[in-house]
C-alpha cells in the first residue's frame, strides 16, 4: 500500500499563540504517555507533528504534518474519530475553526486546510505501519527463539528450525504471506505521464513542420536555456549569502539553538522543522518548483528502498512551498542526531539539497545550481540551525527502529520461506 503525507495549515488566532504553544508542548513533552491525541489508535499513522510558524507574512500558522498509509480521506476520518477532543482543543486556537467536537466536522475542517505538498519522500516505499510493526515482532520472536537454540551445527538446520518455530506459532501465521508488493504502477503518478508527454511534445512537436523548422526550434530552445543559465550564474554571483560573513560570526544566537536542541535526542530518532524564505522573483520560484518536482520524482521512482541517494536515515521528509511562494517548508523524520543528519547531507547528498535550498535567501554561495552551497560545511550548518524552528509536538509510531532496521526486518520476512542458495542463506542468517 502506498504512503502519503498531508500538510495542513491553519491560521492561529494571534492572542492564542502562546496557549497553543503551551498546549502542544505539554502533549509533546511525553508523547508516548499523553492521552489527548491517541496517535497509537490510528493504525495507519507513521509520523506526525504539529508545529507553529509564528513569523510568517500571513501571521501565526499551525502546521500539521502527517505520514500515513492509504488515502487521505480514510486517514483524516480515523484521526478525527480517535482524537476528536484533542483536535478540538488544538484547533480551537485557530481563527476560522468552528467545528466543535463533532468528528465529522473536524474532519471536514482539516480537509479544507490541506495545502499542496511539493516533494513528499518515503524511504521504505510500500511498507505499511502494520507491516513494519509485524516484521519487527517476527524478528524479535525469532531472536528470542535463537537465544534458546542449542549450539547450532549448520545453516540449513538453523533456518529449518526457525521455520519450524514460526510454523508452530499461530500468531505468526501472517508471515507465510509475502509482504504486499510496491509496484511500478503504484509508484507512478498521472502527473509523470503528463509532464513527460509535454516534454516530448515541446522537444519534438515542431518536427511536424519539417526537419528544418525543428532544427531552428532546437536552436531557439538552446539559446533560451543558455539565457536562463546566464541569469542563474549572475544571480548566484550577486545574491546576498551567509558565505559573505566570516565563519566565526555565522552561528545563530545560542539561546535559539539551545531551545531547539532541548527537544532533540530524547529518542534515537529526531524531527527537523525548518522554514526558509524563497528568493524573490519568478525565476527562483520556478527553478525551485522544477527542482522539487525532480527530487519528488526520483525519490518516488528510485529511492524508495531505504535510502535517498546514499542517505539511509530518513524515514519521511517533505519540502513544500507555502504562503503563495514566500516560504519553503521542510519537515523531516530521521535517525540519529542533528549533527549526524546534517553531516550525512553534506557528505552524501550535498548537490541535491544545494539545488533546493540555494533558492532560499542567504543560503551559502553556490555555483551552477549544485556546486558549493552545502559544501561550505560550517556555514551550511549555521544556516540550517538558523532556519530551524521549534517542534512542539512530534510523534513516531516506532521510535526505536531505524530505516536500516526496517529494511532488515522486511528482508528477514522475505527470506523466511521458499528455496535459498547457500550464499543467500548465509546472508539471510547474517540479518539476525
Amino acid at each position: 500500500m502506498k504512503q502519503r503525507g498531508l500538510t495542513i495549515i491553519s491560521q492561529i488566532n494571534k492572542e492564542k499563540v502562546a496557549p497553543l504553544d503551551a498546549l502542544l508542548r505539554s502533549i509533546g513533552d511525553d508523547v508516548a504517555k499523553q492521552t489527548q491525541i491517541p496517535f497509537g489508535n490510528v493504525p495507519v499513522l507513521h509520523f506526525a507533528s504539529w508545529v507553529i510558524f509564528n513569523d510568517g507574512a500571513p501571521g501565526p500558522q499551525l502546521i500539521f504534518e502527517s505520514n500515513f498509509d492509504g488515502t487521505a480521506a480514510e486517514f483524516l476520518q480515523q484521526l478525527s474519530q480517535q482524537a476528536r477532543n484533542g483536535l478540538d482543543q488544538i484547533y480551537s486556537h485557530c481563527s476560522d475553526y468552528r467545528a466543535g467536537s463533532n468528528s465529522k466536522s473536524i474532519c471536514e475542517y482539516l480537509q479544507a486546510h490541506v495545502v499542496n505538498t511539493d516533494t513528499f519522500y518515503v524511504s521504505c516505499g510500500g511498507c505499511t505501519l502494520s507491516q513494519i510493526l509485524h516484521d519487527n515482532q517476527l524478528r524479535e520472536r525469532i531472536e528470542g527463539f535463537l537465544g534458546e537454540l542449542p549450539v547450532p551445527n549448520d545453516a540449513e538446520t538453523v533456518r529449518r528450525k526457525i521455520q519450524e518455530f514460526v510454523s508452530n506459532d499461530p500468531t505468526l501465521a501472517w508471515s507465510r504471506q509475502p509482504a504486499d508488493p510496491y509496484t511500478f504502477l503504484q509508484r507512478l503518478r498521472v502527473r509523470d505521464v503528463v509532464i513527460l508527454s509535454c516534454i516530448v511534445a515541446i522537444l519534438f512537436g515542431p518536427l511536424a513542420f519539417g526537419w528544418k523548422s525543428w532544427g531552428w526550434w532546437l536552436v531557439v530552445l538552446l539559446v533560451g536555456l543558455a539565457g536562463l543559465y546566464l541569469i542563474l550564474r549572475r544571480k548566484e554571483a550577486t545574491d546576498p549569502s551567509i558565505s559573505d560573513i566570516p565563519v566565526e560570526d555565522a552561528q545563530p544566537a545560542p539561546a535559539v539553538v539551545e531551545r531547539l536542541a532541548s527537544r532533540e535526542n530524547r529518542r534515537p530518532q529526531n524531527h527537523l522543522f525548518s522554514i526558509t524564505t524563497v528568493k524573490p522573483g519568478i525565476f527562483r520560484f520556478s527553478l525551485l518548483k522544477v527542482v522539487l518536482a525532480l527530487i519528488e520524482f526520483l525519490g518516488r521512482m528510485l529511492y524508495y528502498k531505504g535510502s535517498l541517494g546514499k542517505i539511509p536515515s530518513i524515514h519521511f521528509a517533505r519540502w513544500t512551498i507555502i504562503d503563495d511562494g514566500k516560504y519553503l517548508l521542510f519537515l523531516s523524520n530521521f535517525d540519529g542526531s542533528w549533527e549526524h543528519y546534517l553531516g550525512e547531507f553534506i557528505d552524501q547528498a550535498a548537490s541535491g539539497l544545494t539545488a533546493v535550498w540555494s533558492n532560499s535567501v542567504n543560503f551559502p554561495r553556490t555555483w551552477n545550481l549544485i556546486e558549493g552551497g552545502a559544501m561550505d560545511e560550517q556555514r551550511f550548518k549555521d544556516y540550517a540551525r538558523g532556519m530551524q524552528l521549534y517542534t512542539q509536538l512530534w510523534y513516531s509510531a516506532y521510535p526505536f527502529l531505524s530505516v536500516v532496521n526496517i529494511e532488515n526486518n522486511a528482508a528477514i520476512r522475505a527470506g523466511l520461506w521458499g528455496p535459498m542458495d547457500p550464499e543467500g542463506l548465509n546472508a539471510w542468517l547474517r540479518r539476525f
Binding site: L149, D249, A261, N265, S337, E339, G343, E377, F400, V404
Partner: protein, 463 residues
Amino acid sequence: MLETRDIQGLVLSGYAKHRFAAFTFLTIRDGVEVEGWLAKLSERITGAENFDRHRTTSINIAFTYQGLVRLRLGSSTLLTFPLEFIEGMSNGARAQLLGDDPDTWLWGKPDHRIHVLLMLFATDARTLSELLGSERRAQQGLLDEVLVINSETFPFSPDSKLNREHFGFVDGLSQPDIAGYRPERYGANGPGNIIKPGEFILGYGNEYFGQLTASPHLRPPDTDPGAILRGNDLGRNGTYLVVRQMEQDVPGFWNMIRAQCARADGTPEPLAEEALAAKVIGRWRDGTPVAVSPDHNGGDPRSLNDFGFAGDPHGDKCPLGAHMRRANPREMLLADKQESITTVKRHRMVRRGRPYGPLIADRYTPDGHARGLVFATLNANIERQFEFLQQAWISSPNFAGLYDEADPMLGGRTQNPGGFTLPKCPIRQRRSGVLPHVTVKGGAYFFMPGLAGLRYMGASSLR
C-alpha cells in the same frame, strides 16, 4: 606547515616520558585580577617547538567559557566561540545528546566554578609535587583549586613502551597522524590515518575541502593594539580540549566477564574470559586487534594500529558493536571504502587521556579505591568530532545496523539493555548483561589557546 612555536606542546605530544601528571581545575577568585599571573605563567607553558628531550616537566593550560568570561574577554568576542563550548558539556540538551546525567557528577555541573585547567606533567612523583607546589604559590590569593586529579601511567609490562588502562588493556594506540607534521613518524596504515591539521588545530585547513575551522576572533577587531595576535585571530594555533573523568569499576567489569563465561557449575574459564573481553574492546589486552588476530594475542607491538576492518565485513572477528569499532570504524562505516575513509576522517580526535587511581591488585576483588581514566581529547570542532562520535557511533543503538546495543564498555544512553552481538557463521551469538562498568563522574569543554592567544589573554593593559 604547522606554526609549532605558537602551539601548546600537548597538542602534538603525549609526553610519554612524563609518567606523572596532575590535572588541576582552578577557579578565579571574585574581584581579583589574574592577568599578571597569566602573563608570567604563559612564559612557563610548554610549547611544541623544539621539545627539550631532557626536560623533566611540562605545563599546559586551557580555559572553560566561564574562565574566559572571568578574564574579561569582550562579549562580542565571546560570541565568536562555538556554541557547544559556550554552553558546556553539562548543558541540558548536550547532556541529552551525550547520554550523560550531570546530576550525578562530582564536578562540571552546569553551575560549576571551574575556570582554568592547569595540566602539570613530570618524570617522577617528586618533581611533580615540587612543580605543583610552585604553581600553587604562584596562584596564591588569586585562584583556588576546585579539584586535582593525580595521574600516573602504567607500562603494560615492565619492559613495554606501551601503557595500559585499569581494565588491563594497552591504551592510546590509535592516534591520527597530522598531515605535514613529522611524516617520518606516520604509522603504516596509510592515508586513511593522515588527517588535515585543521581537524585538531585552529587556523589550518580541515577535512572539508581544506576549509578553515571556525576560530574565535576579536570583535570589535581593534582591541589588540599591541598586535599580539595575527589578524585578530584569538584561536589561531589553539584548539578545544574535552575532559571527562571516567570511573572504571574494574572488579565489576571482570566479574561480569567471568559470569558471562563461567561453566554451568560456576567454574571460571580464564581463556574464554580473555577472549570475550577482547571482543568487547576490539583488542586483546596486549593491544593485538581481534580484527587481525581473532583467536590469540601476541601481535607485533610495532604495528598494532596498522589494520582495517575490510577483511572482517560482518564482524566475525571484531564485532560490529565492539568499542574500538564504534570509536573508529575505519574503512567500514559505509558500503564504499573510500567514502568511509573520507567521512571517518571528519570525526577523529587526538587522545591525551591518562589513568588516575592505583592499579588494582586482583582484578576480581574490590579494594575500595576509585580509579579510572581522565579522558582528554583534542579537536577543533567539538560538535562535529567529540559529540558526533559519542552520539552517532559510541552510544547509538542503531550503529552499524544494530538494534538496541550501545558501546559495551562505555555504555550508551540512559537505559542500556546490555545486549552484545557476536556475529558468527552460521548464526550470531547474542549475549545479554554485557553492561558497561565505566561511569562519567564529571566533565567540561576547554579552550586551549595558542601561545600568542595566551599572551593576549594575559595582557591586562589591553582591556
